[in-house]
Symmetry: C2
Subunit: 299 residues, 2 copies
């Protein structure tokens, strides 16, 4: 199934305790598409400014990602800058410049409307719903969000959640959204709003899911070194949704496997700044890490 | 194999966001012994004051724990008081009164000296070594420690580590002890000091191990409610070592199973204050949770 993603395309500046990078390619939709395109055809919906480097457009095209839905507007591309401490557990946002992203109002190209699989990355939940309504008969729909929308657009977010199958969020967001301190209670509450499945991302501690058929917990892939965790969550979502789109199934076993593919891809992503490592990773390498994960969970 | 444990016996006062308990039975050696006694005969080494309630002595005896090595000294029993926030992730120590524990200098009863399995709970590493040297021919030796000893008695701690097979510590302690921020690097460094295996406890995120035969990660048992996490780490260690003592083997597969038993027991322990739940849990209930853990990791 072809997979549509709507979300940010950005130029990121990132500082870690060991190095830094300025104005590098980033954004949820870019990390997501790069990861997902290992498994399936991706149609990207987003907006960039007239300053967006041509090389990045070339990269997306060469990767086989459909960018008919990536609009160029007069002005500057969305910019995010952040830093990480030595634990790498949380990004500290230093600056956000929405630029052309501020007035983002996506209209789908005609041949995007038959997409069967949709990922609504972290944008205004009203826009997420708007995009979803332009898709004719989606079969698998997932969304992400962030604390800002939970704080400021909760009603719209709850309305969008009612239309989707799978929610992929992080630990803190799940707790905030549900008002529960216990993550298992939080997940049960959120899934009861009509989802088929909720995935909670926990960074270096892995991920957990509740699905109508059960509970599943997956560790992170063990790395000896992290260079830049930016985009790890979006890469996870990309591997996860790309895999699901390729098998056209969201049964429990497929969800578990999809989490493992997302985890493996995220582990490659954090090994370099921007998409440095993700751009070159081969499917066989991803499968190798999935098998290693399987191995280290067997007892 | 019989299992010897040396560590604290305490009266704890605990405050959570929902309830509190004062002067209840606690201490690493008590949680450890209670959990381990499900699998094997436990010999406890510790000290109590003349104020220690008789009912607790009766409890330990009735449980079949050998308390010949539990000395009563004139004075007050070791007391710890702490509180937890809603996340329950870390205890906030409010007060520690060492009392009779301050001059603790354990001498083993004659019939403790043939113990084959030894757990050195968190006490002064010099005392840990002293106890170990009194055991004639131990086959499986493990230790725990805490930030205080890493800060103040590192040399003695490193000396003790050289004599043991397995180290069981938490995430923060592993990072502090190794000076590494990455937990996988931290574990590799510590195991290279001569251990056969290192287990890192990560609270609600489960536990991980590096063993000469590989890497293994285990989630925590998912609970909807935590009442009091005090003693969870010692209960984990008790289930872990009790199981190993019963199978007389520290091969990789046994280590993995032992972690699952420790995890299951710890999950019961946090369901009530003090040893409220742990005292009554049956072996079949523990096995049930181990099987549930196995199930929720399969993919």
């Amino acid at each position: 199934m072809s997979l549509l993603v709507v979300g940010s395309v950005a130029l990121d500046s990132v500082k870690t305790p060991f190095a830094e990078a300025s104005d590098v390619l980033g954004g949820a939709a870019v990390y997501f598409s790069t990861a997902a395109s290992i498994f399936t055809q991706v149609k990207l919906v987003g907006v960039i400014g007239s300053d967006f480097p041509k090389e990045h457009m070339e990269y997306l095209k060469n990767r086989g990602i459909d960018i008919k839905g990536l609009k160029t507007e007069e002005g500057k591309t969305f910019r995010w800058s952040g830093s990480y401490s030595q634990s790498f557990n949380e990004a500290n946002t230093l600056d956000t410049q929405l630029n052309v992203f501020a007035s983002f109002n996506p209209t789908l190209p005609q041949d995007y409307k038959d997409a069967k699989c949709v990922f609504l990355a972290n944008i205004d939940p009203a826009l997420q719903l708007n995009v979803l309504q332009q898709v004719e008969s989606p079969k698998i729909i997932a969304l992400d969000t962030m604390n800002y929308w939970i704080d400021n657009k909760k009603e719209a977010l709850l309305k969008t959640i009612k239309e989707v199958d799978i929610m992929i969020i992080n630990d803190a967001e799940a707790k905030q959204l549900s008002g529960e301190h216990n993550i298992n209670k939080a997940m049960e509450k959120i899934i009861s709003w009509g989802l088929k499945c909720i995935i909670v991302k926990r960074g270096e501690y892995g991920s957990v899911t509740i699905h109508s058929e059960g509970y599943f917990s997956l560790p992170a892939y063990p790395l000896r070194e992290v260079i830049d965790p930016t985009g790890a969550g979006d890469t996870f979502a990309g591997g996860f949704m790309g895999y699901l789109a390729s098998v056209e199934d969201i049964g429990f076993n497929r969800i578990k496997e999809a989490m493992a593919y997302g985890t493996a891809l995220a582990s490659f992503n954090v090994e370099d700044f921007s998409l440095g490592r993700l751009k070159t990773v081969r499917k066989e390498e991803v499968i190798e890490r999935v098998e290693r994960l399987r191995e280290m969970m067997r007892f």
